[in-house]
Amino acid sequence: MTATATAEVIPYNAVNTKSSRKFERQAEYAPEDFHDHLFELEAEGEWIVQRVPEPYVEVMTKFGRKKKIPLEMTWHHKSCGQCGHIPGYSTAIFWLNRKLDLKYTDPTDQTSCTAWNYYASATSNAAAQAGVAMRNFAAAYETGYYPLIHCGTSYGHYKEVREEMMHHAEVRHQVRDVMKKLGKPLVMPEEIVHYSEWIHAVRDRIAAKQKRDFSNLAVTVHPACHYYKLVQEDAIYDPDIYGGQRTATVSALIVALGAEVRDYSTWFDCCGFGFRHILVQRDFTRSFATRRKIEVMKEEANPDVVITHDTGCVTTLDKSQFVGQAHGLNVGVPVMSDAQFAALAMGAHPYRVCQLHWHSTDYKPLLEKMGIDHEAAWAEFQEDLKKLKSGEKEYLTWEDVG
């Protein structure tokens, strides 16, 4: 049978995120709305609630509540794994802000959330973890900018911290005393916002500035565990994306950019990062990432690229493929963040901005499909490096990268 272009033919990219099932969550299963408690504690003088600055976009979360996503005046809470090992991830987030003319700050008064270490080694405790979170929140508040969290684990962990600080006065008071010693106020943001939620909120603006055609690209999405499984009621859902049954973050962006989202059966599985496993038990990480994720994606969806929205997932899914390839597994799909994918759509340089040379799995066929002359782009980047090496330039700047 040949497909004919009639009005009944549903475009491919609509099929995979569209669902004929309507999924209504029952209100009685909805956990309490944390906002009420947040503001009650503020009224009692327990802490300051930093308000989401205007202009913001309202999105829907799992149980139909609204969440405010700030557009600008954002304080970028960076991710150690992104900045350290896949720096094109963070660079792309900043680049998008600049291209959309949205004001932000990239602070040096910021530490890691330290949750990677906590989930790996347990050499910390609830009060210390909350202390680290609240120090960073206070630092953001002091600048007048609003925290935007780059890492999925920081985001999930900070939401756990919010729960603990709201419900356990003893933890809250212990942390308040520590903050006093640091000379800092106790501040809780009105919403804890992940950068991928910001991308979700501005996806139409990104699409409006799209320079490269992505309609021939097939994408599989790996939703990050710590984004939507930790304090799950606070992740973005949309009835138009998977009938509201899965988080819409990332997938809605891919749809907006005109690429095809392809489904695969192990979408709910984690990537295999494991926190301690990626560092000291990598046999597990490698096996899980290749056997349960990449191979399944290849067999069921054969994507051109895997898009995800967290530090550990990009690292794990990308780096684990090398050994799989050596063993003849059905792997070999490039992996990048939604931020890098969006930046490429808007015409970003694959090396100067997206810094893809930090990634492992071959991404060149993908760049070719995107219509990017990667050899010319690499030659340009080599010229930059020459200038840096000779001392003609000290750093590559925002002005240099376009």
């Binding site: 960076k78 900045c83 990239d106 008064d109 080694s121 499984k229 000291v280 899980f288 492992s360 590559l396």
Partner: protein, 229 residues
Amino acid sequence: MGLFADKYPDVAYQEKERLWEQVKADPRYPSYLYGCYECGICVAACPSARFYDFSPRKIAQAAAREDIDLIYEQMNDDVWNCSQCFSCNRCPRQNSPGGVITILREVAVKNGLKSAKQALEGYSRIIYKIMGTGTQVSPDMLQPDAFPDWGPQVREVSADLELWRRALPPETLHTTSTGWQVDDKTIIELYLIWHNTGVMDMIAEVDEGLHMILNDVMEEKLEEAGYEV
């Protein structure tokens, strides 16, 4: 009396009970375990259960039954296999077996259990990095001998690391020994948090050498900044 043979008969029941009381005393514990249907949904979602002899259902069951011997065994033999992904949070009973595991691990570390020390072997440099510098992952950790299974690309990064870092447009990312540039004042504040929340005592329990090095680094900086430790 537990359902399984006691794997650690040499450890006194009272000692196992003491540790269990610490787990239950954690303020998070009541919201991590409400009971268990024994439905196995958590196991179906659990990545570690696919690769190890490990089960979040068993963890939830042992805790719900307060099977002191089995909990002690799990605290030693099982908890370090967990990936802390929290896929098990889809539990229909609203449990968080992964959250229970976080607490079990914490109690194991706080009490210097031999298995916790073993689990953290080879991990000290990471703890040093995060506690000492404020960012957990740094570019200079990308060394081919540390990540041989990541292929030749790691060698390329490490060979030209300093140059590649200067080729990053964000001004804060030109660092090699930290993920980004962190202010001295910020580091001091982080040290004060570790000192004032009992984390330094936890480190002393599991790794004396690391504790000594960290203490030296921190004391010097804190004293310079006018804080008494």
